[in-house]
Subunit: 282 residues, 4 copies
């Protein structure tokens, strides 16, 4: 059994020693350990991977950990068994380059997820979903139908037991109701190096400002649009010769890569969220 | 004689042909040509380098060009003889890494400028100026003395026949009076990837937002703080492990390089400013 | 009519003026001009894009240019009418990430080519070809059948009137016979920053050497393996924590992007080959 | 007291738990822990930083650690007290940009070292050493005087109690005798992305090959020229327009940064060498 353990708690001396000792005495071999202390808030964060070759079960580990260390150090914590493959829903609108990219990675075995469904407010992506044999749901969203549309979305997400959601250039604002059900479990790709050019039409804004680099940002979705915890960013150089369309074209590769990287970090339980920032253990 | 010619004018057919023909018939050999059309405003930009092995003088070239092509096409244009080494003033405050970097590049012959003087609102940089044998002027700036200080600065800039000014982490706002006398001739380094984190303390703001990249921007100074035409930008990756001080340290290398690159482009007459953006012919 | 003209010839004064004048007097408006002189060999290179709104035909332009300027300056030159969409054959073996990437770009309209066929020495890619509705030919290659296999390949390439070939991780050496028929028209992706780690298993070699960056290179194929003119390169940072499999995974994104960029430059007639190097007019 | 502890030993279960427990029971608070296992050789590596607010001395810690854990797990290990500032000798030849850069960083307090001396086989750098008030020794090296020159160097290094040596573009081969006395304590900057373009004149070779990226590599010096463990690498994009001199100029910034980064990692005891590769704990 291989476990990945994520911990955060008020910082104090002895946590590392206690946790590693706990694991060692249960027969676990620690194959990864990384830790971080946020000094302003005196909060301790740790990520461990541990292999158990004995008969210990996840339930036993969880029970013992909860009643001993977790209680002692007031930990917020989670533990994941390696074998669990998360279920990822994809939301998409008209731009399909990120969708294609994710499905290609999925098909070639690069992304260790199940993709139980694709939801779109447009019909355009249906043929791509069909091509990759993923169930597709067309749920149009208008001002008047937004609430109803979200109920449909939530019903589908529940039905398919979705673990997390990827907004692969989904051009609708996700409401508080959905966010509350999937806290730090909705990953969006924004087509700028945030906080520059938040909001609509970032490539147009970048062109107007005459920047020499453009970027993309994958982040967890929160109630404040484009203000959620940043997971990953990357940039590319541009020049005065690039038209808005050139920026859009060049940005597509950034978006694909930055979104895929963000998703991989999430799948591998390498991200923790604190104070609207991510701690990314790599 | 080697000339560098910069032109902008309303776009129309035939300009390239006319200009290259003009140069050819005066015995010039074009060794560089690049052009750009801003489609929104239908404005044409061109940069040429041309070698003349005959007896043509700069004055003759200028006179003929002005009365023929420049008038015909309503050009704004400038011509530079290669031999002219521009005079660059450096303004600096307390942070001296950019100053050191520029003086090192200057000493090793990398920057083809004269540096007639360094002006600072602090005394700290005096020893560095002395070390590199550059005249140093300490002009403190306070709210009440700002106007007087600028008069001193302008007098010195005039006395030393300064061509352009570099703000090498100069922490005072340059007023409209100075900008008006040196339009598109004041280069600032801002320690963020603008337009993100304009204003004071960008590393603190970057830390707070939890970005995964930090950057630096060199730009021409205009009346709107940190809003001038961007010449050059670069970025570096950071993570949650970087404290604000780490960001500051990592950012220093970016600032040095991005400022030096911006200055070089300016010295080599490779930049043109239009619509608050730069066209950079490389 | 929009023409793209590529020229190279012995360098001498007056070429730019002559060519731009030739185009102007035929009613062409030059919308792009870039030139380069290789000083060692005194060779001049130029790329122009020109729009003609009159009734001039490609044949007329070609005939006049050939008998006047091309002859006068001993030019090697080519002219392309914008409307011609090139036909690109894809060769692939077992690794399909580049194939998926190219087909996704093709499907979404990003790559302005026709893809008349995919050829593979393995059967694995057939389902992907089917998925994207591209004819697929399985041509196994063994030592004894190599010659025969290449004849089949060449017959198919001729039948489909293929303009250029992309080796999207095709793990067979392409023989001189094929190269001779498609000079500077076969683009390969090599999974290292050449000239480092030429030959087989570059990620293994990179791991063994302990490099801190890995790369990918797209280049035209010549008789010398991995020694052809480089079109495009890019790199990514790695660390001691990356296993060989991690390097392979991280490299996939580089390979996809570097190959796609190389292909785009080729399609847009932005590359010229000289002295086993590329001149890339961007 | 703050200690940095570096450990490597045969991998087995329980090491992390034992070491963290050892530190905790001596009253240490672990503020940094990172570990790595080389799977091929089953070797375990760990780096810890630990703060002791009690009266434990370095000698006590060392003695106890040696006789308990170090012996038990057959560790190779070292411990450093934070307060020790290492002594760094700089060797330089004619190119002085790295020298200037290091001295600027040193002067501004960015590099936490002492620089007791600069040694050069040329006189050129003397004025720079004087400018920064560092003792300078001119030791010419010819084929016949090489042995004698090295004896002088070694005598000076011993006299000044030098901890490690930086070859800041020192163009002489350092012999086995010197390397043996400073194993993994001589840092060189090579002006290419090794293993590409090892040996002399890498920019010339890069130009000839027509690469689209150039690079720099800082590495520990071993008997095999340019083959030592790589600490840090970085690259920059170039194009056909760059002459050899342009590559040299552009490469200077890479060399400065890559060397400075390598030195910082070494100073902060973040590097471990194994199997001719570095493990860099960041």
């Amino acid at each position: 059994m291989k476990l990945t353990i994520l911990i955060n708690c008020p910082d104090q001396a002895g946590i590392i020693s206690s946790v590693t000792n706990f694991i060692h005495t249960r027969g676990g071999n620690i194959v990864y350990i990384d830790q971080y202390v946020d000094k302003e808030s005196a909060t301790f964060f740790m990520r461990l991977e541990s292999e158990f070759s004995n008969t210990l079960t996840l339930t036993e580990f969880t029970d013992e950990f909860k009643t001993s260390l977790a209680a002692l150090y007031q930990m917020q914590w989670e533990v994941h068994k390696e074998i669990t493959v998360p279920k990822m829903a994809i939301f998409v609108s008209k731009y399909d380059h990120c969708l294609y990219d994710l499905l290609s990675r999925y098909s070639s075995g690069e992304l260790d997820v199940e993709i139980p469904l694709i939801i779109s407010n447009h019909e355009k992506a249906e043929s791509i979903a069909t091509q990759f044999k993923i169930p597709f749901y067309h749920i149009p969203v208008t001002k008047t139908t937004k609430k109803e549309a979200e109920e449909k979305q939530l019903a589908l997400l529940a039905e398919y037991k979705v673990d997390f959601i990827v907004l692969a250039r989904y051009m609708q604002i996700v409401s508080q109701t959905v966010i509350d059900q999937y806290p730090n479990k909705i990953i969006n790709i924004h087509h700028s190096f945030l906080p520059a050019f938040a909001g609509a039409k970032p490539y147009h804004a970048a062109y107007k400002r005459g920047v020499k680099i453009i970027g993309a940002t994958s982040h967890y979705v929160t109630a404040d649009l484009d203000e959620g915890p940043i997971i990953e960013q990357d940039v590319a150089t541009v020049s005065h010769t690039h038209s808005i369309n050139d920026l859009i074209a060049k940005g597509r590769d950034l978006e694909k890569i930055v979104l895929a990287r963000g998703i991989k970090l999430h799948i591998e339980r390498k991200t923790m969220v604190f104070n609207n920032k991510t701690i990314v253990f790599i």
